[in-house]
Amino acid sequence: MDLFPVWLSLRVSLVATALTVVVGIPVAWFLARRRHVGKEVVAALVVSPLVLPPTVLGYYLLVLIGTPGPIGRLLGSLGIELAFTWRAAVLAACVGSLPLLIRAAQAGFESVDERLEQAARTLGRSEPSVFWSVSLPLAWRAVVAGMVLAFCRAFGDFGITLMVAGNIPGRTQTLPLAIYDHVQANAMREANVLALLAVGAVIILLVGVGRLARVRY
């Protein structure tokens, strides 16, 4: 049986989770700490991808990043191909995962006692230092929970990936797409094996992360 989709999915979801963390944590921090008008609007916008049907969301993305689209043309002039490559699968996974990570991390940062951060500031800590040494360590569990959700969402994404990355075997066919294809082809044995692999891989990974997180913190 062709195991390419398993490796592709692991890689896509790991890269996507990493990107989601890099982009999402600053946003979550901003939403949790800065108080100004429009914050609620930003917070609502952040979760809006969750309410759209994934294939429709994927279609909108495709209009933007496809060869004739505005972002597609810009990237094309730089010689970068995004739509229908594995990088598009990463983008798709990120779009689905970001709301989950941001919401979880935001809740974590909001639960940190602000007086502790103030105390660090009075002791002369800079803002980045306050974040690294006080806020993040205290919000750590929520952030990990968000990362786990983000990873699972990325690993399982179907609709957005289907539209922007295509379902090209050996190139952009991720595990969920491969399972769906096998079901469509009435190859239930292959579909069942891959479905078990998907669940198994994620369980092993998450149990591992759970163990590590407990040992270190």
Binding site: F4, W7, L8, R11, L14, V15, A18, L19, V21, V22, T55, Y59, L62, V63, G66, T67, P68, G69, G72, A83, F84, T85, W86, R87, V90, W132, L136, P137, W140, L162, M163, G166, N167, I168, P169, G170, R171, D181, V183, Q184, A185, N186
Partner: protein, 255 residues
């Protein structure tokens, strides 16, 4: 914590640098095809691969989705559609090569009964039977086979009677799955995918609906249009015709 960020950054760099892709040493023909061709193309592709020493990559989906992807630059070489209007739209915007557009087959409908139902239906009129509680068809709003099913039901004067019993599948394979799971007792599906162990079927008279014209075209972006044309010729050749026929398609010259 710092290690996590370091790891994240590293993963991105690595991820960007190494692109997972299967060995591209043998030329690959990427075919975007409608779901009703799933079984026929899986049968045809390996034979073409052997004859031409190339790799065929099949991407199966709904005609509408695939057409939209081709419009936005999908790396397809060939597009087999279950509905000619989508290909004509692509011709209009210049996404496929007009001269390569060709009618390769007509689809047929089958009246399918789940084996678990016991009795096998042989005529559309039996759908009015009170023992039939649910009837699966593809969504007539957008699925070609669903539209044809609606036309056939109207033609035999049953549309109003059976409408409360109808359940809509997203596409023709999804409709078949309603039957395979036994969730619906009967349904109207594409003949080309009806050969599964869980159902019995009879062909429906094609005169009851507008022709299900299946159209193919070579995609403009294709780097190797000659390979795509060779595949079209193969489907229309003696071996291709024999296989397409075995999956219940009507072939040019037969309609």
């Amino acid at each position: 914590m710092r290690h996590l960020w370091l790891g994240a950054t590293l993963a991105i760099i690595l991820g960007g640098a190494v692109m997972p892709s299967r060995a591209a040493d043998t030329p690959t023909l990427t075919i975007f095809a409608a779901a009703d061709l799933a079984f026929a193309l899986r049968d045809l592709a390996p034979r073409f691969e052997k004859a031409h020493g190339i790799k065929v990559s099949l991407v199966l989906g709904s005609t509408g989705n695939l057409a939209r992807q081709i419009e936005h630059g999908a790396p397809a070489d060939l597009f087999f559609a279950a509905n000619e209007s989508f290909v004509d739209d692509l011709v209009r915007i210049g996404a496929v090569i007009p001269e390569t557009r060709g009618l390769y087959a007509q689809g047929r409908l089958a009246l399918a009964t789940a084996r678990s139902f016991g009795a096998k239906l042989t005529d559309l009129r039996q759908l009015a039977d009170t023992r039939v509680r649910r009837i699966a068809i593809a969504n007539p709003q957008h699925a070609p086979y669903g539209k044809a099913a609606e036309q056939a039901l109207r033609k035999v004067g049953l549309w109003e009677t059976v409408q409360p019993k109808l359940v809509y599948g997203e596409n023709i394979r999804h409709t078949l799955q309603f039957l395979q799971t036994g969730a619906t007792e009967v349904g109207i599906v594409a003949l080309s995918v009806a050969n599964v162990p869980e159902i019995d079927w009879v062909a429906i008279d094609p005169a009851l609906h507008a022709p299900l014209n299946q159209v193919v075209a070579v995609v403009r972006n294709s780097g190797r249009p000659e390979l795509g044309l060779a595949f079209i010729q193969f489907v229309g050749g003696p071996e291709g015709r024999r296989i397409m026929k075995s999956y219940g398609f009507l072939l040019p010259g037969e309609f």
